[in-house]
Symmetry: C2
Subunit: 342 residues, 2 copies
DNA sequence: CCGCGCATCCAAAGCGGTTTGGGTGTGCGC
DNA sequence: GCGCACACCCAAACCGCTTTGGATGCGCGG
């Protein structure tokens, strides 16, 4: 079932059929109706490869799974983010092309992807403070939006980010306000921009409260439950253990809670905990009205939807200066925080 | 940079350049070398859309995010599975096309996807016991492999599955062997084939041990930590609470542990727990030598790699009868199981 | 009656590759 | 010296769609 066969069975030229189906003028009302009816009847669907070759638009967006995920953990945030972005794409008729970057020459991989014509734009995730991919993509002329930011990148580029620094400063301030002075931070992997910003927010709020940041209370690691557990166990064993924890993910928080309870202590009374909550669908923070943890929350799925919309509009209006969008995390008061014990 | 311009700059015809680059005969050694060198120098990469149009192969595999994930949870298994499959695809030069199925007419969505020519094959996830998609895809002639099985599907089709029934029967038998007689099952969502098989394994092993399965001890729900916690709390409150738990995911197990410890009991002594472990990278069962839970384990990422390989070979050899592969879960002895208290 | 504008429709030229079906030139056997 | 096999190369058709630049026929004003 091609455009040509459809045209023949209608006694029309491919040109007219194409124009009729794509809503162009220059086609009689009656003819258009007849074409549409026949197309539906025959179950005709244009071949996207051919269309894409002719129009130059791929009707697809690239997302990239970083190469080193082969060895490291697959970021659990990706799935929800992509699901959110996918909703927006689907509504606009776009597909997602997921490429696993081959190890080694990352730059060459992105270059090939851009040249390939398989995608009209790229969504970049998990940026580092000095992320070379941004300059690379800008140079390639492929529209892109970054989920997160690259703090050390000077040139303008499109991004959508949660205000990590402010969220973690706020959480820290909340804890100092409750009298805590030894506030541990169990952060995500070092080298990730979001982790850098969270650490900065934490440090700033401590300094602000007249507390000297203690490097022994700050950890950077891939965000697993086990990490939260072991780190909290170790910290609890210190001569001066922290009275409060700040965690970068709910999984870490769950681990901390385990360690805390195993030590016979209770969260919210003996030890306080504020976590960031990405709103992952399979890892809810309790139920809507009854959170388990005090948290800063920014649903990553919603951010996926937003970032995708930004990218689509960047593709639709080339030449426009890149847009940026900073999302404020919501504050969720839960039972895991309380006044510092003395 | 097209094939034509490259050919011109080499003083050759597009035909010869194409043959030289694609490793065909009929090209002099020296010419081939010259072409390859120039292609590399100029950074030439063939346009996949054009190539795909000409060859009829898309060099892409479809994965589908179910429509209802818009409202329900995004299966955390998807990410690791896709990462595994992606490795295999990437090595063979294939991309992943992720489509979000529009709500409503699922069949039409798959039909369009098949007709579109965007993909050479499809990987189906999360099948139901009577899954219509299988007959549909078989009828469409699009190669596909199912991750999991559709138990009520009679016609042959390609699948890769973990032996859910056997794994859960084994786990149950292990518990009855320890003297447990009230063994709760906190399963995944009802309607999923894997959940059905796990429930069957559990029930069979109970019957085998002369224990009448108690419907009050079996739950079906999306697999979250919170589900594990609340279910375990409720069950603990029964007049005759279970002395052992079987959980379908590590997240559920973590929730159960929380409820158990909150009740002042200890896992492995007062209450036993065996969980299934999908080997998700961000949710490890302790560390390699020191598991947290006794578990049946089958790394889903590895299964992604395998399923992708099966699909690629199904695409390469059309007409071959579909292959199937049953993976045996490994048994991991952890500290969460012990003799039944009396 | 002529010429012009308008509404429709179409032929043909791409898009950037692959592939079929010859061409050309050389070396070799007879 | 002729014919043939062989190695090498190329022109052109094709994949299925979009889009440019006309063609055609009609009604209408001058």
């Amino acid at each position: 079932m091609t455009l040509r066969t459809l045209a023949e069975s209608l006694g029309l030229s491919p040109t007219t059929v194409s124009r009729a189906l794509n809503g162009y003028g220059d086609v009689a009302q009656e003819t258009r109706a007849r074409v549409q009816a026949e197309a539906r009847a025959q179950g005709y669907a244009p071949n996207p490869r051919a269309r894409s070759l002719a129009t130059g638009r791929a009707m697809a967006i690239g997302h990239v799974i970083p190469a080193d995920s082969r060895h490291e953990i697959v970021n659990p945030v990706f799935a929800d983010f992509i699901a959110g972005a996918g909703e927006t794409y689907a509504a606009a008729g776009y597909e997602i092309v997921l490429s696993v970057m081959p190890e080694g020459d990352e730059a060459e991989g992105y270059r090939r992807l851009a040249r390939s014509g398989r995608i009209d734009g790229l969504l970049l995730q998990a940026p580092r403070p000095a992320d070379r991919r941004i300059a690379l993509l800008a140079g390639l002329g492929l529209p892109f939006v970054v989920h997160g930011r690259a703090s050390e990148e000077a040139a303008p580029y499109g991004w959508l980010d949660m205000d990590n620094r402010r969220a973690f400063a706020r959480a820290t301030r909340h804890l100092t306000g409750l009298g805590h002075r030894r506030i541990a931070l169990l952060n995500g992997p070092e080298g990730m921009d979001f982790a850098t910003r969270r650490a900065a927010g934490h440090a700033a709020a401590l300094t602000e409260a007249g507390i000297a940041p203690d490097p022994a209370l700050v950890r950077h690691e891939p965000m697993t439950e086990f990490y939260g557990y072991t780190a909290a166990r170790e910290l609890t064993g210190l001569a001066a253990p922290p009275t409060a924890y700040l965690t970068s993910s709910l999984l870490i928080a769950v681990g901390v809670r385990r360690a805390v309870e195993e030590a016979g202590l209770r969260l919210g009374r003996d030890v306080s905990l504020v976590t960031h909550d990405d709103g992952l669908s399979y890892l809810p923070n309790g139920t809507p009205g009854r959170p388990l943890f005090t948290a800063t929350q920014a649903p990553v799925r919603e951010m996926g939807r937003e970032a995708a919309a930004m990218l689509l509009s960047a593709i639709a209006e080339p030449g426009r200066p890149p847009r940026t969008r900073l999302i404020e995390a919501e504050w969720v008061e839960g039972p895991s925080t309380g006044a510092a014990p003395r």
